[in-house]
Symmetry: C2
Subunit: 414 residues, 2 copies
């Protein structure tokens, strides 16, 4: 690929102007937006305003004056179009793990069969498994018959035919980037009288999602990856409208009450999605996410998906033209439509190679024991950067730069 061809990609990129909304450090190529999205100018200025003017000057009155109280719903509504959700179904609150607990418990309460079963895969993001385990354990220690069933990917469809109460899956696998067919899996689950809970942490903001169209029951997702909300940003959750009446979720706090400021001793859930709130929302962190979401204005999820795949395809094509990079094993699906916005490669020297890349200014992830993980966040990456990142990787491998003296200490660590 010539330099001119690469420049043409950037010139033709309808999202190219979004880059200027981000404050990326110069000289770095940030292929880690799937771990922690970068700082936007909007988030920086907004938090400054919230702290110095709203908190600092207007103090307690800001809950109404600056509508802090509305943030969880307002931020939810900004996320909704990115995941294919009509209004009134998305809420920003707490962490992915906490939100998952709410939704798994609600899904089990919907069914209330004698034996509660949550079906999942062994290799989804572990915190999701821990939360499901925690809920099941809480019930079992009281003598309730309940089970978390983990199966390998290939046995999943067979296991669904046994009608578990809930099927909990990551839409995009955090290690490999392999993506589930949301429509197909959701349909299959529903045919078997099973509800689905999708974890969209590695999808939202980079993939085209259609939760309503797929008739998804429940979903959770992360605010600090492709949504760029900042370190530990609040998460979001989705509950389809049809599940909101009579919903039973145990983490019922005052912010989800119908009249929180009446301070009634008994819980009355608010109508709609707001009943999923629990405690007082984290205003500083949620404001950063709210502002960061403004960077998505004027574009749609299809454009995000298209660019992200084009970036990763360019990366792969450069790699595939270089014979030495055959040392790397692509762990992600080669077919772009089967993977999310990331590429993962295995290599026996994955750790020193990652370190060499980082030293060269190409920020990637190492995932134990032998994975190099690269995220192709469509909102701020340019094709030129991705091409340069690919060249750095081929150079590091072909010239064995990861064995170079300056990396020897780190290399020994592995």
């Amino acid at each position: 690929m010539t330099e001119e061809e690469i420049i043409n990609f950037d010139t033709a990129d309808p999202l190219a102007a979004k880059r200027q909304h981000f404050e990326l450090p110069t000289g770095k190529i940030y292929l880690n937006g799937n771990s922690l999205g970068p700082l936007s100018t909007a988030a920086k200025l907004r938090v400054r305003e919230v702290i110095e003017s709203q908190w600092g000057n207007d103090l307690i009155s800001s809950w109404n004056r600056h509508r802090w109280i509305d943030l969880p719903l307002a931020v939810g509504e900004k996320i909704a179009p990115l995941i294919g959700a009509a209004p009134g179904q998305v809420l920003c609150c707490d962490s992915v793990s906490i939100n998952l607990f709410k939704l798994l418990a609600a899904a089990l309460a919907n069914r209330r069969r004698e034996h509660a079963v949550i079906l999942s895969q062994q290799d989804i993001f572990p915190s999701d498994l821990y939360i499901a385990e925690g809920l099941i354990k809480l019930l079992r220690e009281r003598g309730v018959s309940a089970e978390l069933q983990l199966v390998p990917s290939r046995d999943l469809e067979q296991a669904v035919t046994k009608s578990p109460d809930v099927l909990m899956l990551s839409h995009v696998n955090f290690r490999t980037g392999a993506v589930h067919d949301m429509q197909r899996v959701t349909d299959l689950a529903h045919k078997n009288n099973t509800q689905v809970v999708w974890d969209l942490s590695h999808s939202a903001g980079a993939m085209e999602l259609a939760l309503d169209a797929c008739q998804v029951d429940f979903a959770v997702g992360c605010g600090y990856k492709f949504l760029n909300g900042g370190p530990g940003a609040p998460a979001f959750l989705y509950v389809a409208s049809r599940h909101q009446t009579g919903l039973q979720q145990p983490l019922q706090g005052w912010m989800g009450h119908r009249q929180p400021f009446e301070f009634e001793p008994h819980y009355q859930p608010d109508e709609g999605i707001n009943q999923l709130q629990t405690g007082t929302p984290s205003i500083l962190s949620m404001s950063a996410l709210d502002a960061a979401l403004s960077c998505f204005e004027g574009i749609n999820a299809a454009q995000l998906r298209e660019k992200s795949l084009a970036l990763s395809e360019m990366f792969l094509s450069i790699l595939e033209k270089d014979s030495t990079s055959s040392e790397l094993t692509l762990v992600s699906p080669r077919s772009p439509h089967l993977r999310g916005a990331q590429l993962s490669f295995s290599h026996s020297q994955a750790f020193p190679i990652s370190q060499a890349l980082i030293e060269a200014g190409v920020i990637v992830d190492f995932r134990s024991p032998n994975l190099i993980r690269l995220g192709f966040s469509p909102l701020f990456l340019s094709f030129a950067e991705v091409a340069k990142g690919a060249s750095s990787l081929t150079q590091i491998i072909s010239e064995k730069l990861f064995w170079h003296e300056r990396f020897s200490v780190r290399a020994k660590v592995t």
Copy 2:
């Protein structure tokens, strides 16, 4: 009280210099630090640094480089001396409500009797009751025998003799400021084989607490009231060392795992208090709290308690000298040692009086239906301010300023 006497109070105040750490709006007397503590310069500068330099420049590497990963434990250790806890027992995470769910579930798991009982008071902060209700409902909908028992304050000691699994109480009542004798109630509970969970939201940072000395089992508390952590700041929890081994808490997320970055499919709780973590912590909000806690350096909880009581006693003495203020009914205990860092008064016109105070620059709380609530946060208030606040209140009442034309619209609202 003469002006000179008031000045003498401020001159003799060992905490007076702390005032300069806060960025309070000029012309306001902020008697609402019990709802939302004010902005400190430390918090402002720290969040700016975390956003602009750490997140902005160092991106994902900040988790290690700037020790974001250590914040929940580090902030917990800063709170520990304020509540009389030895190291290793306090953690900063999530919200009060979420943390309460963890601890109530853990306390029930400790006992695992056939019939689970949580005993509490009808008038504690409602979110605590909602959370307990949520846990009980989750168990009951699966056929487990479980109960949340609410009794009036006067029946509490009698009810404890029936040995509930858990006694859950607010240390300081959010409406009246009435304080429980922590030592006495905890002893009584233990004598009856009952564990206690204290909510310290209206105590921490303003009262002298001795959790270890009282042999408290569990506690939660708020980061955004007297600790000044900012709107929706993360909360904290306390688990006595003796309960940490074999603890069962259902909100088990990856941050509480023994080896979170090994991504194992099964949960292995970390040792010690860290097993109470759940999802990824909110770094922006937690950093603000961390910095705000630096304002407590060099002072101890006894000094905080002493000043807070002196402030509220001065307020009362000014009021009591004014005949018209007999219209106000003190709802808080008159004896200083029986109340926390607040005073609450009832008045049929509480709402317009609160509004008149706020218009006059004295920021107070109105609590439905008829309470005026004033917080005496010891870290930033001066005696001169409190005296001025008391004079404003007597003036508003004696001159019926709350019926004044400019308040007529608001007055009608009530």
